[in-house]
Structures are given as structure tokens and as C-alpha cells.
């Protein structure tokens, strides 16, 4: 592989836009061996993708500090329907 600019891989390498779609599979360790070695080669030469990988790990770490209740997304539509039902019952 040739690296013709610092922080950028060579032109025949795996493209960065393809790497970012494989980050989770790479971290899960489910990539086929040939693809994994291609990714490893790419990472060795690409600062931007190394940073993305580090950021992915940071997000996983930060998310792990949360609880399920912290990220509950029960929405206003559900709330409105529940409130409407409860109000209907209270009228009785």
C-alpha cells in the first residue's frame, strides 16, 4: 500500500466511506478474515478512520454509563393517548 499524503491511505486502499459502514462489524469481530486484514491495513494508514474508530469506542463507553430509564423515549403521542384514556375514565 502506498501512502502519498499524511493521514490519507493510498488510492488503491479500502475507501473511508466503505470503512465507516464496517466499524460496528469490525468491533464485533464478525468480518471475514480477508476484509478484516484490509480494514487493518487501511486503519494503519488513515488517521481520519482511526479517529472514527476511537470515537465509536468512546460512544460505546459513554452509552454504557447510562441506564435504560435515562434513554426512555416514550413519546408525547403515547402520553397524550394515555392521558386521554385516564381522563375518560375519571369522568365516570
Amino acid at each position: 500500500m502506498t501512502t502519498d499524503r499524511p493521514g490519507r491511505p493510498g488510492r488503491d486502499d479500502l475507501a473511508c466511506k466503505d470503512f465507516v459502514e464496517l466499524v460496528t462489524a469490525y468491533l464485533d469481530g464478525v468480518l471475514p478474515a480477508d476484509v478484516r486484514s484490509q480494514v487493518d491495513e487501511h486503519l494503519a494508514a488513515c488517521d481520519g478512520c482511526q479517529n472514527v474508530l476511537a470515537q465509536w469506542r468512546t460512544i460505546i463507553d459513554l452509552a454504557g454509563r447510562l441506564t435504560e430509564d435515562d434513554v426512555d423515549n416514550t413519546d408525547e403521542i403515547t402520553r397524550d393517548r394515555l392521558i386521554s384514556t385516564i381522563r375518560g375514565l375519571r369522568r365516570r
Binding site: 488510492r11 475507501a15 473511508c16 462489524a25 454504557g64 441506564t67 435515562d70 434513554v71 413519546d75
Partner: protein
């Protein structure tokens, strides 16, 4: 308000979802309003009205609990739930045994509430946050507008032929529910309305495929976060991640919560959400990508 009306009237995925929500609300309201009429028709003692009502109230809670865990992404699941609704309605039109009638009412309320929870989630995902409250209000109004003639028709039939014959109107509504469930259920995970399965990074962050020097590589390579604002280890960063995950649409939200918050194994998550391995990884990658974007923007803003 105009946007909310447009979202309602536009052809597409929203109509069957709204119609299904109205139908489920009709069935639920019919049981709460007219359920005791079956007991009147059967001539049971007044002391039995309390347990029947308690059963309906309990079904609201249990149905909500089940609905939170229900994943409606298979036609077979939709058909099974629809069949349960229809079966309950048939029992209500044919049976004169108190216990069976009350159980049918309780099961009907339970299933209807359970179905309405994920369908409501689908509506949530189908509309942008700016018009979500307006659409929710519109669905509520439409439900009551539909319930008024429904209640009138039910009352007329019940008055003339008895409440059991009135139950046939519930049966017609239940069949409509099956049709709408079938139309709505496909794509609950794979292509939720308004939530396109976008790549984790926007296309304009990469050079074009025909770029003579670095096709498909970064236009501006991402910078390490530590250079922007010291170690990314602060409560502010945790709060930003929490907000990002909370705002995610349901398929991505469900997967990232299961994987990164609850730290559950991929196979377990796939089984529970009924996803293929590639769907699960794609949704998780998208979710992490969106969280990364928001945190990146926030750190850049704070570091600027």
C-alpha cells in the same frame, strides 16, 4: 398546523397507521363505554359489575406492559393479533355465558392496547418532531369524530336487537383492524416511514468515486475529540449521548439501547427484535453514527 394537516392527508405510510390507531381506539372505547351492557343483557347481579370493571382496568395496564415488548415486524404476528381481536368480537356476539363474555372483553382490551403501543411508536417515527404534537392532537380528534357515529350506530342496533347483535359492528371494525395491521406491519423495522436507512456518515463528507486522487476518502478527516475539548469524559458528554440516543427513531433506538446501554449480546438482541445479523449491525452502526455526529457538533461548538 398546515404541515400537520399535510402529513395527515398525504398519500403514503401515514394513512394506514392513523386509521389503525383510530380503529384500536374505537374498540377500546367501545369496551369501556358499552362493556357493562353485556352484563345488563345477561341479567347478572350488580355485585359482578365491579370485578368486570376491575378486569378491564387491569387489562389496560397489562396490555401497555405487553405492548412495550411487542415487535410488530412479521405478518404472522399481525394476523395472530388480528385473529385474537376478531375471535373476541365473535364471542361477544354469540356467547351468553357470563364468564366467557367477560374474559372476551378483557382479552380484547388487552390485545387492542398492546397493538396500539407499537403502532403509536410507528406514528411517532413517521412524523418530524415539529408537527408531532399537532398530528397527535389530530389523531385524537379524528378518533372522537369517528366514535360519535359508531356509538350512535351501536346504540341503535343494540336498542332494536340487543347488545349481542350490536357486537357484529365490533366484528366489522375488528376485520378492518386485521386489514390495516397487515398493511402497516411490513417495514416496522426495515423501513419505518420517515426514517430512511441512511449511511452512518453523510455522502458529502467523502470525495466522489471519480476523484482522481483519493476516491471515497475523507474531504476533511475527523479530528480526535481530545484535541477539541480535552478528554471526552465529562458529564456533559454523557448527557449529550443520552439526549442523542433518546431522540433516535425506534429501530435504531431499540438496538443501541439493547447493545450499548444494556450491554446485551448481539444474538440476544437479534432474537428479541427479530432482526437478521446484518440488519442489527446496520441499525446499530447508523445509531452510533448519529450519536457521533451530535457529539462531534457539540464538542466543536464548545471548543470553538
Amino acid at each position: 398546523m398546515a404541515d400537520a394537516y399535510r402529513a395527515f392527508l398525504e398519500r403514503g405510510a401515514l394513512r394506514p397507521i392513523v386509521a389503525l390507531l383510530v380503529i384500536t381506539a374505537l374498540l377500546l372505547q367501545a369496551m369501556l363505554e358499552f362493556g357493562p351492557l353485556w352484563l345488563v343483557a345477561l341479567g347478572v347481579s350488580a355485585g359482578l359489575y365491579g370485578p368486570q370493571w376491575a378486569g378491564l382496568m387491569a387489562a389496560l395496564g397489562v396490555g401497555g406492559l405487553l405492548g412495550g415488548r411487542l415487535v410488530l415486524n412479521r405478518p404472522t404476528t399481525a394476523v395472530a393479533l388480528g385473529a385474537a381481536i376478531v375471535a373476541c368480537c365473535i364471542v361477544l356476539t354469540t356467547s351468553h355465558m357470563l364468564g366467557i363474555v367477560v374474559v372476551a372483553q378483557i382479552v380484547l382490551v388487552l390485545v387492542v392496547v398492546a397493538v396500539s403501543i407499537p403502532v403509536t411508536g410507528r406514528l411517532h417515527d413517521a412524523v418530524p418532531s415539529t408537527i408531532r404534537a399537532g398530528v397527535a392532537s389530530g389523531v385524537g380528534t379524528l378518533t372522537w369524530l369517528t366514535f360519535l357515529p359508531f356509538a350512535f350506530a351501536f346504540g341503535v342496533v343494540s336498542d332494536r336487537s340487543g347488545v349481542h347483535d350490536g357486537g357484529w359492528i365490533l366484528g366489522v371494525v375488528a376485520v378492518l383492524a386485521i386489514v390495516l395491521l397487515g398493511a402497516t406491519v411490513r417495514g416496522f423495522v426495515r423501513a419505518p416511514a420517515g426514517v430512511s436507512l441512511e449511511p452512518a456518515f453523510a455522502a458529502d463528507q467523502f470525495r466522489a468515486d471519480d476523484d482522481p486522487r483519493w476516491p471515497g476518502h475523507w474531504v476533511d478527516p475527523p479530528q480526535p475529540w481530545e484535541q477539541l475539548r480535552g478528554p471526552v469524559d465529562t458529564q456533559a458528554a454523557v448527557a449529550e449521548v443520552r439526549e442523542s440516543i433518546t431522540d433516535l427513531p425506534s429501530p435504531q433506538h431499540d438496538v443501541i439501547v439493547a447493545r450499548d446501554v444494556q450491554r446485551r449480546a448481539p444474538a440476544e438482541v437479534r432474537d428479541e427484535l427479530e432482526l437478521t445479523p446484518s440488519e442489527e449491525r446496520d441499525l446499530l452502526n447508523q445509531a452510533r453514527g448519529r450519536v457521533r455526529d451530535q457529539l462531534d457538533d457539540s464538542l466543536k461548538a464548545r471548543g470553538a
